[in-house]
């Protein structure tokens, strides 16, 4: 039974040492360790939640990007089409305008040609008149000089006219 009788000294020192250890470890070891573990667990849970959220956001963003891209493509083709149309329109307009201008120029030119032709004809007519008058004068003067000479002269004149 001696073995089962607790010694006072051992009991006392064990109690003292245990309480000191409990106090020191409680303050300096368990507190930082347990709070760090809690904090880390919370941190990990938060990180996982954040990662999940970010992933969702990313997929959402990707979908949006996809949509934007499709829209942009559509807009681009639309713009290209519009540009082509505009180009065609401008070219056609230019062509039309050029044609109109050319026509106007041609018409003007014809008109001018006609006018000048008329002027020239008038001048020719006047000249011919003058010539005729002159010829008539000469004939009259020659007639007045000699009959036969008159005839030869007339012949010469008529040939002259023919040459003209």
């Amino acid at each position: 039974m001696d073995l089962l009788t607790p010694e006072f000294g051992l009991f006392f020192w064990t109690l003292l040492a245990f309480l000191i250890v409990l106090f020191i470890l409680g303050k300096v070891a368990w507190k930082p360790i347990l709070s760090s573990l809690d904090e880390r667990e919370k941190g990990i849970a938060d990180s996982i939640a954040t990662a999940e959220r970010v992933r969702n956001e990313m997929s959402q963003l990707q979908a949006e990007n996809e949509k934007l891209l499709v829209q942009a493509r559509e807009e681009r083709s639309q713009m290209l089409k519009e540009a082509k149309d505009t180009r065609d329109r401008i070219v056609n307009e230019a062509k039309d305008m050029a044609k109109a201008e050319a026509n106007k120029i041609i018409v003007d030119a014809q008109h001018q040609i006609q006018q000048q032709k008329m002027t020239a004809l008038t001048e020719v007519k006047n000249e011919i008149g003058n010539l005729a008058v002159e010829v008539a004068g000469k004939i009259l003067r020659t007639q007045l000089n000699a009959a036969d000479g008159q005839e030869a002269y007339m012949k010469m004149l008529s040939e002259d006219i023919k040459l003209n």
Partner: protein, 391 residues
């Protein structure tokens, strides 16, 4: 395969070494004793008695507390052995003389006195009386004294406390320095697993939402017991946790916490058990009140008995060699490998037992506190569950 071969090689090597060493020692002992006997018969007689193998004395000498840390003994030609031991401080409180403190080496060797008791010389009015299992400091005047000596067990405990504080403080510092979100490294890894195990497997299931208040106590109990169990396994180590004073101290502490934190619900359940016929109540209350005190007693005895039994078995297995050798040297030598194999097995078992008993002590402390602080709701179910664990 190669591992097995290595183990058997080790056993063989140690076995042969042990056998040759033992045979030499035995031979020398025989040689030294026989010629001396006729010459100085009076002196040689107690010497021979001392040399006789007393396994019980050897084992209890190892597991009991002592006022010096005995390392080994050297046998001498003359028969008087030299005991090499580290003297430890003796602190004694005498009701009339007050405190006195001196080295245990002042007591000297113990000898059998006229009454057949092993006593040392007296110093400053005290002497040590060695009983069958324990030694006590006795005042020469027979007064009731208080022995507060730093004994072998207390020295061992101080070493363990220093190691524990050093390890825990360095790890705690690491946590404070690195912050929570840095991955643990080195010893921190190992410790973290154990701390989380105690928190998640012991504190949370037993104590519910209030586990944070009791976690420091449970962790300290667990690590304090564990490290002392391990230190006790070292060769020459003290049997600290296998001492009833130590386990009583820890059990009383957990009992005090349990009582201090107990709630009305616990007491009403205990003194007026619900759903029981009136005539059975007195009997049940008696059992419940008894169980209140049996709980810390169970804590105390479980740890004490487990660790002490482990020490006794290891020592007994080693002693088998010497028991057989006392009959025949060759038989003793032949038994060395068997004994060594068993001892190694026991050491591994004790390593396991050391951790398991620390865990059980912490776990049962948590269970008992959990019973005392439990809230009225779903109490019945919880109660039954806890009883299952205790059984």
């Amino acid at each position: 395969m190669s591992y097995k071969r290595l183990v058997s090689l080790l056993v063989l090597t140690f076995g042969l070494f042990g056998a040759s060493f033992f045979a030499a020692a035995q031979g020398e002992g025989n040689k030294s004793n026989t010629p001396n006997e006729p010459a100085t018969a009076a002196e040689a007689k107690p010497v021979k008695e001392e040399h006789k193998l007393d396994v019980a004395k050897v084992i209890f000498g190892h597991i009991a507390d002592a006022h010096e840390w005995h390392l080994f003994s050297i046998k001498h030609e003359g028969g008087e052995d030299t005991h090499v031991s580290i003297p430890l401080p003796v602190i004694v409180y005498h009701p009339t003389n007050g405190f006195s403190m001196f080295s245990s080496s002042n007591f000297g060797e113990a000898h059998k006195n006229a009454a057949g008791l092993e006593v040392t010389e007296s110093y400053k009015g005290y002497h040590i009386e060695k009983g069958m299992m324990k030694e006590h400091i006795i005042a020469d005047d027979g007064a009731k004294i208080y022995d507060l000596s730093i004994t072998k067990n207390i020295t061992s405990m101080i070493i363990s406390v220093v190691i524990l504080l050093w390890v825990m403080l360095s790890v705690g510092k690491k946590y404070s320095k690195n912050g929570a979100m840095k991955a643990p490294s080195g010893f921190q890894n190992f410790l973290e697993v154990v701390v989380i195990f105690i928190r998640d497997e012991v504190a949370k299931p037993c104590l519910g939402s209030k586990y944070k208040t009791y976690l420091p106590l449970l962790l300290t109990v667990f690590f304090f017991i564990w490290i002392n169990n391990l230190l006790g396994l070292l060769p020459g180590g003290a049997n600290f946790t296998g001492n009833i004073a130590v386990t009583a101290c820890l059990a009383i502490l957990s009992f005090i916490v349990m009582m201090a934190k107990s709630r009305k619900h616990f007491w009403s359940h205990l003194l007026n058990p619900p759903g029981v016929p009136g005539w059975m109540k007195p009997m049940l209350v008696l059992i419940e009140v008894a169980s209140l005190f049996i709980k810390p007693m169970a804590l105390m005895i479980r740890l004490f008995a487990n660790i002490m039994a482990g020490h006794i078995v290891i020592l007994a297995l080693i002693s088998i060699v010497f028991i057989f050798a006392a009959i025949n040297t060759t038989v003793g030598a032949g038994f060395v490998p068997v004994s060594l194999a068993f001892t190694i097995f026991m050491f591994f078992l004790e390593l396991l037992v050391g951790a398991i008993q620390a865990f059980i002590f912490a776990n049962l402390t948590a269970v008992f506190i959990g019973q005392a602080i439990e809230e009225p709701h779903d109490a019945h179910h919880e109660h039954e569950h806890n009883i299952d664990i205790v059984m």
